[in-house]
């Protein structure tokens, strides 16, 4: 009895607070804090003392009986480990938010404590009538808290909550009466003993009550309006205490309901998840977004109740609900600022951590539960699995939109700062704890890439790529200051990536690297839109990867659908075939050397994934290799043409990056030794030249502050070294001998001819010729032509940017003149892979021979450099010294050009080419994606038409839901 009372210490606080005169708010606050701390300690100690506290098994439970006789006379409590965890979160949330309540509405403190009491009661109740009592208390307190302000929208929210709770009360009491009448008991277990008509009646009534209370679709409406209408502090407290209690109570009741086959929960949940998240896409206010997110978690609860049982069910549900509620609490603390108080720097992180938790991104606590849950679904309920995955992806989309829209101007109310920090710290602690617990699921023993050689290539690429980006992160100010940290994390995760031994490890590292990079991009100035697109496509590829991994039971071994999903994940990551939209948005806005890292290094993760899929499915050959090659070729061509017309330096480089990765795809698709040699050669070469180009671009942007072609030009006079390195990189990717780029093309063309894929070859060759268009545009637009007076102050890029470029340019030269250094390593490595067909190129000294072609890079290099040197020396010693004239000294019909800007040809470059192209139907990837977005928005609009904002509609929804359940369950049974 005494022990049970310990749980209700907050109630005491509530009474004391109500009695204490309002004149002395400080005293009442102190009392509240003391009681809350004592209550928290009491709950934890009680749990430990009873033996319920066991973090390794959250379903571990102990019954605490408080009196004699059966319920409702005595209150029996079930103390569980998960419940204790939830109680800690509830107490924490109340403690964190109490100060703000005290500051804004001091008189609402009793209500706050009352809400906590009700939540704790509901959390531990084992008895259906006691639950009813707490349910009523909670509802009334919520209404009171919300209405305390008595302003329009809050009043409305309170009324809607009151309406719904009225209906819930009626239905619930009916169910209780029916239960008592047929069984004579009121414990939750009694539900399982029901049979016949009363079972159906109770099931229908209670299910409607639960779906309404947890706000699962389609009965979400009132919840949305409530979250939107009430103040952020009330919403935050509500979601971390009452909402959490209701969810966990529902989790306790759902498996006991006599509905026959519980799979019906899963169907309601899965369908509701997709539909509600569709509607969520259209949400704009933070309250509504949280509402939709709540709905998503409620639906997940239903799915879990329908598909899992026992300890597994409890574990998953507890972790999902507890941490998502905590995340929502901290978002509410930050999301709806009332007083403006700029808090940059940590603000982004504070804001991002809860979003990552809600989206289930590793290594956040929710991820582990989601992963296990989805793994279970994937192997047992594939259709539900796809539905859930779709819903979760949609949720990630609007959450990231929310984040990217807010992250630029996070304003945190002073009173919320400590609570937000504390909540995030709590989540991070939990993340570390759960990750440590789940450590055993990770596997680094044997890599999924069986070939040591290939693995070492990728280890090396990632490590070198990351290291070369690091010197250039110096001297950043403002937002950009801390991006190096995320770059480092992303690079570190990538460097370990090839060693991943199972799907989970691979996925974990992939997501860490992707989202660390997303945060890095978000540090850019005006990076809002770019960050959002990157985050969406990163989640898309992440979810595809997850689906692929889970469907193949955690490994990569099963061909067919999982392998296709994994391939698509890699394509999205690479930006191939229409998904380049994120590349061209994220790269131009990413800070400093971040785009160099993304384009040069991070994109190789996709190549690694493709290689892994190919190696583990068929040992090399992908059955859809031809499709892949065509995709690569068409992407290479289309993006090369788009690059020629890009108005922005970094955007052009982004297009060019995608275009050049197309050649990698063509090589991989070939599945012959030649093709793979070409693909690996091109991968390495892509890293080298793309990093050099983007580092050069970083220097240009650093010195001039712009990357638009219309504001650049003539910088060769100011930045000769940057120009020299860029020139080397450009000549190389234009595949002009004797630099490195030609080798990749030559190997690829030989491979394509060997396979007889001549149309692919032609498209590829065309794409590589179109590359000349943008390569010249790139050099001219930035470095050649007239130096604009705007950039007269520009200087050479700083050394930390130049030195990596010099190293990369050196690598291009070495690889160009002596490709055999690389080929001597690559060819034997790839020959050892059994799945690859075709003949290997023969290397004799400097000579590379294939069945039809020959290539001696060393001789070609000597010849080119030799004749260039001879011409140079001849010109030099012939005694003719041309006189340097100013940039405006042009043969200009006797006129003097008025200004540099007027004689610099930059705008509408390649206009005739655009005119010549005009016969093509404009199938822009942009348009397709806009169409897709529009369709989704329309669907979302359709779905959310249900939520009219009228309380009576919501009542009608509940009643219609009840009727439908009746028809369905009655028919089913």
């Amino acid at each position: 009895m005494v022990k049970a009372l310990a749980i209700f210490l907050p109630l005491l606080g509530a009474f004391i607070n109500a009695w204490l005169p309002g004149k002395n708010p400080k005293a009442s606050r102190v009392v509240s804090y003391l009681l809350l701390t004592a209550g928290l300690a009491a709950v934890v100690m009680l749990s430990i003392q009873l033996g319920a506290w066991n973090l390794n098994d959250l379903s571990n439970s102990v019954i605490l009986s408080t009196g004699v006789g059966a319920p409702p006379l005595s209150i029996n409590l079930e103390i569980t480990a998960g419940g204790t965890l939830a109680a800690i979160v509830m107490y924490a949330a109340t403690i964190f938010s109490l100060r703000r309540f005290a500051l804004t509405t001091p008189r609402s403190q009793p209500l706050v404590l009352g809400l906590l009491t009700a939540s704790l009661g509901l959390l531990f109740a084992t008895d259906i009538f006691n639950s009813f009592v707490f349910l009523e208390i909670g509802s009334i307190v919520t209404i009171g808290l919300t209405a305390a302000c008595r302003c329009g929208s809050r009043w409305e929210a309170a009324i809607k909550a009151a309406l719904v709770s009225g209906l819930v009360t009626i239905l619930y009491l009916l169910a209780v009466a029916a239960l008592y009448r047929s069984t004579g008991m009121l414990t939750l277990e009694a539900l399982g003993t029901l049979t016949g008509g009363s079972a159906i009646l109770v099931a229908i009534l209670l299910l409607t009550v639960i779906v309404t209370e947890i706000k699962a679709y389609p009965l979400t409406g009132w919840g949305l309006d409530f979250y939107q209408g009430t103040s952020s502090i009330v919403a935050g407290l509500y979601s971390a205490t009452w909402s959490l209690a209701v969810l966990l109570w529902a989790a306790k009741v759902l498996p006991l309901l006599p509905v026959g086959n519980p799979i019906i929960y899963a169907w309601i949940g899965a369908g509701g998840l997709v539909l509600s998240q569709l509607a969520g896409l259209r949400a704009s206010s933070s309250g509504r977004i949280m509402g939709y997110s709540t709905s998503a978690y409620a639906s997940l609860l239903l799915v879990a109740a329908g598909t899992t049982t026992g300890a597994f069910y409890t574990q998953i549900v507890t972790v999902l609900m507890v941490f998502s509620s905590l995340a929502k609490f901290s978002l509410f603390m930050l999301g709806n600022p009332e007083k403006k108080d700029r808090w940059s720097g940590y603000g982004t992180i504070l804001f991002l951590a809860p979003v990552l938790v809600l989206a289930g991104i590793p290594p956040m606590p929710v991820f582990w539960a989601k992963f296990s849950f989805l793994a279970h679904l994937a192997s047992n309920f594939p259709v539900i699995f796809y539905a859930v995955l779709t819903g979760l992806f949609l949720e990630a989309v609007y959450l990231f939109r929310f984040w990217s829209a807010r992250s630029e101007k996070v304003r945190v109310e002073r009173a919320s700062k400590p609570s937000a920090v504390a909540a995030v710290l709590l989540m991070l602690t939990a993340a570390i704890w759960i990750t440590r617990m789940s450590w055993g699921m990770l596997d680094f023993s044997g890599s999924i890439i069986a070939s040591d050689g290939i693995r070492n290539i990728f280890h090396g690429l990632f490590a070198v790529g990351t290291l070369l980006c690091l010197p250039g992160v110096f001297n950043r100010t403002g937002r950009e200051k801390n991006y190096w940290f995320w770059l480092l994390i992303s690079g570190a995760a990538l460097t370990i990536l090839p060693a991943a031994g199972n799907g989970l490890t691979f996925y974990l590292l992939w997501e860490i690297s992707a989202f660390a990079a997303v945060i890095g991009v978000s540090k850019g100035v005006a990076a809002k839109n770019g960050t959002f697109w990157y985050a969406v496509f990163a989640s898309l590829s992440g979810y595809l990867l997850l689906a692929g991994i889970l469907l193949s039971k955690g490994s990569f071994v099963i061909a067919g659908l999982p392998a296709i999903l994994l391939t698509i994940a890699a394509l999205v990551k690479m930006g191939q075939f229409g998904t380049h939209l994120w590349n061209i948005r994220a790269y131009p806005v990413a800070p400093g050397t971040m785009p160099a890292f993304l384009a040069g290094t991070a994109s190789k993760a996709a190549v690694l994934l493709l290689v892994a899929v190919a190696l583990t499915t068929t040992g090399g050959a992908l059955p859809w290799g031809r499709v892949l090659a065509w995709m690569g070729a068409l992407t290479a061509l289309a993006t090369a043409m788009l690059a020629a017309f890009a108005p922005d330096y970094r955007k052009m480089l982004a297009y060019a990056s995608v275009s050049q990765l197309g050649f990698v795809l063509m090589g991989l698709g070939l599945a012959s030794i030649l093709g793979w040699t070409a693909a690996f050669y091109q991968t390495i070469h892509h890293l080298i030249f793309k990093m050099a180009l983007f580092l050069g671009a970083a220097g240009v942007v650093y010195r001039t502050g712009t990357s638009e072609f219309n504001n650049l030009g003539g910088l060769v006079k100011k930045m000769p070294w940057t120009f020299a390195f860029t020139l080397i990189a450009v000549i190389s990717f234009a595949s002009v001998p004797p630099l490195a780029g030609f080798g990749g093309k030559w190997l690829l063309y030989n491979g394509l001819v060997e396979a007889g894929w001549l149309p692919v070859l032609i498209v590829g060759m065309f794409a590589s010729v179109v590359a000349f268009l943008y390569s010249f545009r790139l050099l001219h637009g930035v470095f050649l032509g007239q130096l604009s007076p705007r950039n007269a102050h520009a200087k050479e890029a700083p050394l930390p940017l130049l030195i990596p470029q010099a190293i990369l340019a050196m690598a291009i030269m070495v690889l160009g003149f002596k490709p055999t250094i690389l080929l001597n390593f690559l060819v034997p490595t790839l020959e050892a892979i059994p799945g690859l067909s075709g003949l290997a190129p023969v290397i004799q000294g400097d000579m590379v021979l294939t069945a039809m072609g020959t290539w001696n890079a060393w001789m070609v290099g000597l010849m080119v450099m030799g004749f260039f040197g001879v011409a140079f020396v001849f010109f030099w010693i012939s005694g003719h010294k041309p006189k340097y004239v100013g940039q405006l000294d042009l043969g200009f019909a006797g006129e003097m050009p008025p200004s540099a800007d007027e004689v610099h040809y930059s705008n509408n470059f390649f206009r005739p080419y655009a005119r010549a192209l005009s016969f093509l139907p404009k199938i822009h990837a942009e348009k397709i994606f806009r169409g897709t977005t529009k369709t989704f928005n329309m669907l979302g609009d359709g779905v959310r038409a249900l939520f009219t904002g009228d309380g009576r509609t919501y009542l009608a929804h509940s009643l219609i839901f009840l009727l439908l359940l009746f028809v369905f369950l009655n028919g089913g049974m």
């Binding site: 060769v716 000549i731 234009a734 595949s735 002009v736 001998p737 030609f742 093309k745 030559w746 030989n750 001819v753 007889g756 001549l758 032609i762 060759m765 065309f766 010729v769 179109v770 000349f772 268009l773 390569s775 010249f776 545009r777 050099l779 001219h780 050649l784 032509g785 039809m852 072609g853 020959t854 290539w855 001696n856 070609v860 010849m863 080119v864 004749f867 260039f868 011409a871 140079f872 010109f875 012939s878 003719h880 041309p882 006189k883 340097y884 004239v885 405006l888 042009l890 043969g891 540099a900 004689v903 610099h904 040809y905 470059f909 390649f910 005739p912 080419y913 005119r915 010549a916 016969f919």
Partner: protein
């Protein structure tokens, strides 16, 4: 070794002479078509010498300075990658070092250098011309590469010697008869390659004063012109090797290159100029379609 160096040196000198001479002849021929006398056949040598000996010149920066060297290096490299006379191994020069793919790509070396020089000159017309030139080049390279691939795959070799060797069984074994469509495509691509009308949009003296080299003068211009002469001869030899059975003797080399050189001259004399987009579209459709016919034939 010494013989090889001698051969390389003689090839360059010979090609330069032949190229300049062909240029002079072409000016005469054009003049006769116009009903004029025309200059001496040696006029190009005189022009070149005059330019070489002019006493002053200007430059606009490093790339401007180096572009003529790029141009001439690119031309020499293409020249040396093609065997001259079949059967005389000494005239194969550097052709062992690469195949047709290398040749196609190394042809860009000079173009790229020239484009960079033009860009560095800061003259808007030079850059407009380069943008036109690149747009056109990317278009004719399509049909040219299809033709080359069709021929190379059809003959099962990428090596130029191999392609020439496969055409030695009489005149009917020439690729122009064995691959008529591919040859037609390649020959149509040859016109813009030689900057002949109706494709002469790059050096359009009427609206963009002679295009990329508009700021070049004196000795730099003489380097440019020698580069162009060398590159012209290299392309002639390449086309003779690809389509017209190569040269089995010095005489046939000169005759074939001379006749092939006359083809763009004659076409050029009677046509007005395309607009850039017309040129691009023509090159995308007509020659490419022709070349594709043979590619499909080879694939089947």
């Amino acid at each position: 070794m010494l013989a090889n160096f001698t051969s390389v040196a003689l090839t360059i000198v010979g090609a330069l002479t032949w190229g300049l001479l062909l240029g002079g002849i072409s000016r005469s021929v054009t003049a006769r078509i116009h009903g004029r006398m025309g200059p001496r056949v040696t006029q190009n040598f005189i022009d070149l010498w005059k330019l070489f000996r002019k006493t002053s010149s200007i430059h606009h920066g490093g790339m401007f300075w180096m572009a003529p060297m790029f141009r001439i290096t690119g031309a020499i490299c293409v020249l040396l990658m093609v065997p001259l006379v079949i059967g005389q191994n000494i005239t194969y020069n550097m052709s062992f070092a690469g195949d047709v793919f290398l040749l196609i790509y190394i042809m860009f070396f000079g173009c790229l250098g020239m484009a960079l020089g033009a860009g560095n000159s800061g003259h808007p017309y030079a850059v407009i011309a380069v943008s036109r030139g690149l747009a056109q080049m990317s278009s004719y390279e399509l049909s040219f590469s299809i033709a080359v691939v069709a021929i190379a795959v059809g003959l099962h070799t990428f090596k130029i010697e191999g392609i020439v060797a496969a055409q030695q069984a009489g005149i009917t074994s020439w690729n122009i008869f064995r691959f008529p469509f591919a040859s037609a495509g390649a020959l149509l691509a040859f016109l813009p390659m030689q900057m002949a009308y109706p494709f002469g949009i790059v050096l359009a003296p009427q609206e963009i004063p002679i295009g990329p080299p508009t700021e070049y003068s004196s000795r730099m211009l003489s380097f440019m012109l020698s580069g162009r002469a060398l590159f012209g001869v290299a392309k002639l030899i390449l086309f003779v090797s690809l389509l017209f059975g190569g040269a089995s003797s010095w005489l046939s080399l000169f005759v074939k290159t001379f006749l092939l050189y006359m083809y763009p001259i004659v076409v050029s004399s009677v046509f007005p100029r395309f607009r850039t987009e017309q040129s691009i579209r023509f090159l995308w459709f007509i020659p490419t379609t022709l070349a594709l016919v043979d590619l499909v034939r080879v694939m089947l």
